[in-house]
Structure formats: C-alpha cells, structure tokens
C-alpha cells in the first residue's frame, strides 16, 4: 500500500524531510512504518502520530492512501 508520510517541527528538521510517499507491505503498523521510512533513527519515546489528521495509536495499521504524520509533543498556545 502507498502511504504519505509527514514530519513536523524538530522532527522534520532533524530528519531533513517534511514529507515522503512510500510503498509498504499491507498490515504495516505505524510503528513499523517509521522503521521502514527512517531506518537510521529509533522511534522517539514521546513521538505523536496522526492518521489522516486524527491522533492515532502507534500500533494501529493504516490503509492504502492514508496520510500518516509523526511529530514531537505539541507546544502551541501561550500563557
């Protein structure tokens, strides 16, 4: 299946990639997806993931055509 993978903020900068379309075996979990896309880097402990712009568990399995985003803890707002 084909997955659109996106990275944000510090993760995007460190990995040097904002988005990449990849082809992975069916039944690839989001955790496994990371290892396939960024084999040189272990999955950070505090990483967050979203599937089609909704928070998702790392153990869940995306569908063909999904957009999967990885990002660090959020730091929006103020005060």
């Amino acid at each position: 299946m084909r997955i659109e993978v996106r990275f944000f903020a510090g993760l995007r900068e460190r990995l040097g990639v904002a988005e990449r379309e990849v082809s992975v075996p069916d039944d690839t979990s989001i955790r496994q997806l990371w290892s396939l896309v960024v084999p040189e880097e272990p999955l950070p402990d505090n990483v967050l993931a979203a599937r089609n712009m909704e928070y998702v568990d790392l153990s869940s399995i995306p569908c063909d055509g999904d957009e999967i985003a990885f990002f660090p803890p959020v730091t929006g707002g103020a005060g």
């Binding site: 903020a9 712009m53 985003a69 929006g76 707002g77 005060g79």
Partner: protein
C-alpha cells in the same frame, strides 16, 4: 463557532469587536463572555527570547480546534466560541492565541474558556521554536496550566 489560523499579527480586541458587530453571537442572548489572550513574553525559563517561530499542521490544527470547540459547546451549552491562533514568526508583545466563549451564565464561560486553552495547549498540533541570544531551539513541551 469559528476557528482561524493567522500568519500575520492580529489585535485581539479589534478582532472581537468585529466578530461581535457581525452579529455572532446574537445580542441579548448571552450574559457572559470569557476571553483568554496568550501573548509572547520576552522571557521563558529565565532566558531572553528574541523571536518565536510557530509551525502548524495545516488541516489537522484547524480540525483539532474545531473538535474541542464542539466538545465545549456541547458540554457547557455555549452560544458561540472563537479560537484564533498565530503561526509564523512572532516577536515579544504579540498575541499568539485568542480564545473567546459566549454563554448565558458566567460559570459556563469561565469553565469553557479554561477547558479550551488546556485542550489547545496539550493537543493542538502547533510547535514553537525560540530564537534566543545563544541560538534557536524547539520548545520541548508545554507547562501544565
């Protein structure tokens, strides 16, 4: 119920004035308006911050802010809500976030505005990079409210 991501500076008071003048929420129905404005300070954890870069996830950021707006509206029976968040480069003194809610009574307004800010800070996909004298660095986590 309105959510806006802005990439240029905004005046929270002018924005609220325009929003109410445009007739949302309906005049005479609400007795309570609670507003929170988060502004960029010139210090964080005792260090000078010269500027700030705010990144978001276009589409998901708006979706999350709409989701928490719906949750607050249902839970506190709000008459209206407005969330505005800056992205891009900011300087000290500039507003970063505006949350406003309108309800019949004040208890709902106080609680809902605080709920929205906590939900926004803990889960809205937004990230800050601080420019300090000793260089730039991504903020690692938000402090609890």
């Amino acid at each position: 119920m309105t959510v806006r991501i802005l990439d240029a500076g905004f005046d929270p008071w002018a924005l609220l004035s325009d929003y109410q003048r445009a007739g949302a929420p309906p005049e005479g129905a609400y007795g309570a308006t609670a507003v929170f404005v988060g502004t960029m300070r010139d210090f964080n954890e005792d260090q000078n911050v010269q500027s700030l870069f705010l990144e978001h996830y276009p589409g998901m950021t708006e979706a999350w802010l709409e989701k928490i707006s719906v949750a607050a509206t249902e839970r506190w029976n709000l008459l209206d809500s407005l969330i505005v968040h800056r992205v891009g480069e900011l300087h000290p003194g500039e507003p970063i976030v505006l949350v406003a809610v309108w309800s019949a009574h004040r208890k709902a307004a106080f609680e809902a505005s605080r709920f929205l800010m906590e939900e926004l800070k803990s889960k809205a996909p937004l990230w800050k990079k601080e420019q300090r004298e000793d260089g730039a660095r991504w903020v690692e986590h938000n402090t609890p409210g």
